[in-house]
Amino acid sequence: MLCEQCRQREATTHIRRVTGGTAEDHYLCAECARAGGAASALTSPGMQLLDLFSGLLGNHFAAQEQAVPRAAAGRCEFCGSSLREIAQEGRMGCARCYEAFYDQLQPTLRRVHGELKHNGKRPAEDPQAARRRRTERELEQLREAIGAAVREERYEEAARLRDEIRRLEEGGGEA
């Protein structure tokens, strides 16, 4: 039996993945198994998400390729990965790939994660940067609130929020 991934070498690794009572079998050669096919199937609880990701990105890429043939021709300047390689593997080449292909990746990332807004830990940062970030987050919330206030014709509230934003922007936010 040939490896289902490369279809060249003899399959020597049998992987059965059981999810919620249904079994799924994979037959791979040692090389493909090592290269990741088996690896992710064996351990990663995110495997289905990974499948989903490359599936979605693959579809998206195919659609895009027809519409705008040159859109995906670019490569990440840092690691040299192309969007096609990323779509095929479901893996990014380096951290900068996210920036390089952000526009193309965004719809897929949204489908996998929902809103793209990190809301957790941040790398250890100096206190000044932390303060700036808190102010920025506060400003963002205030701007949203002011929009809502204007839409709902709560003008007094909007004026108050405007003053608050001005105070923060002038650096008065840190008492």
């Binding site: 609880p45 995110g46 990014m92 080449g93 951290a95 990190h118 250890a124």
Partner: protein, 360 residues
């Protein structure tokens, strides 16, 4: 002073990952009694981190991986972590580490340039150049999500001070696989669900859990029901949710499942047939002279169910511990030179008998 520190930290250990444990095979945290330990065997929290200025591991050759590995080693201040060169570690020892959940099975294959930082207690492991540049893992007995996270968080802070982490305001920690973006945290608990499993409810539970942003899957084996009724429950959502919220969510669902399992187990034990199976398992475990891995897991699971519900006279932890110790690679390493497959079945039966004997 500095030189001395450097000499002490990252003690090179290329030969035997568990030399000190060779005769006992003990992983200390695993044998301990933890919270909810009638149902929850262990907790693991994993954080993935990457360097902003190096391609992800799959785009690095052995030398590139080696350089990243070395940079992380240099940044480690914690002298309690020993360094293991994965390419030079004997495969059997590597597989044993995987059986004890300290590394992933694919990492055990020994990717050139990859390395492992491992604490003496084997409750902290940091995989270097696995799927991501850095994967910090902390293990605890029983249900201990917050303590495990806090420990991982501390290591992360220490590493982050000396290394340029790949991070984006909107996407959070940048990971090789886009499904881990955000907190890049995977918290999981290992559950023993023999009651739910034998009532055929585990599969349905997995489905309903998927809707809550969590994943539950069999921890071992093939076939439709998880071998040994061991399941791994973990968070799936990493972007948009704070770490503490994800942990609380997982904690709450785990507590609910534990309650369901207790009720299911009580229901099962009222069936004379299952009660008989438990006592038979108990008899075989104490008397058998040869035992294959699958049979061991099956019988240990039945006995563990009896122990957790007060039917059998020994702590459930002893049986959890045996479930790990009797895995092929870990078992082979209990003797030097390592045992071949032939002698393993006899050793397995002997190990089980002795362990049980020392606890009853």
């Amino acid at each position: 002073m500095t030189n001395e520190n450097n000499a002490n930290k990252n003690n090179e250990n290329t030969g035997h990952a568990n030399k000190d444990n060779k005769n006992t095979g003990h992983t200390k945290w695993f044998a301990a009694k933890g919270d909810q330990s009638d149902v929850v065997l262990s907790t693991r929290v994993r954080l993935a981190r990457n360097l902003a200025d190096a391609p992800f591991p799959s785009r690095l050759d052995a030398q590139g991986k080696q350089r990243v590995t070395q940079r992380v080693r240099d940044a480690v201040q914690n002298s309690e972590l020993n360094y293991i060169d994965m390419a030079r570690l004997p495969r059997l020892e590597a597989f044993s580490l995987a059986e004890r959940r300290l590394i992933s099975p694919e990492f055990a294959a020994g990717i050139p340039g990859s390395g492992l930082l491992l604490s003496g207690d084997e409750d902290v492991s940091v995989m270097l150049c696995e799927e991501d540049h850095i994967r910090i893992q902390v293990l605890r007995a029983g249900l201990a999500l917050r303590p495990a996270y806090d420990a991982a968080d501390q290591i992360d802070d220490a590493l982050g001070r000396g290394l340029p982490y790949a991070f984006d305001e909107n996407l959070g920690y940048l990971t090789q696989c886009p499904t881990n973006l955000g907190t890049a945290m995977r918290a999981s608990v290992m559950l023993h669900l023999p009651g739910l499993s034998s009532l055929g409810r585990a599969a349905r539970l997995s489905e309903s859990i998927a809707k809550l942003g969590l994943t539950m899957r069999g921890a071992f084996g093939e076939g439709s029901e998880a071998e040994g009724a061991l399941y791994q429950l973990s968070n799936q959502v990493t972007l948009g949710l704070e770490e503490s919220a994800a942990l609380e969510n997982l904690q709450a669902i785990t507590m609910q499942i534990a309650e369901q399992e207790r009720r299911a187990a009580a229901e099962c034990l009222r069936q004379p047939q299952l009660e008989d199976q438990i006592w038979r398992a108990w008899g075989i475990l104490q008397n058998a002279r040869r035992m294959e891995s699958r049979e061991a897991i099956h019988l240990l699971s039945l006995a563990r169910m009896g122990a957790a519900r007060g039917l059998l006279p020994l702590p459930a932890e002893t049986l959890s511990h045996l479930m790990t110790l009797t895995q092929p690679a870990t078992l082979s390493l209990t003797e030097a030179p390592p045992l071949d497959a032939e002698k393993r079945d006899a050793k397995r039966a002997e190990l089980i008998r002795n362990h049980i004997l020392s606890k009853v």
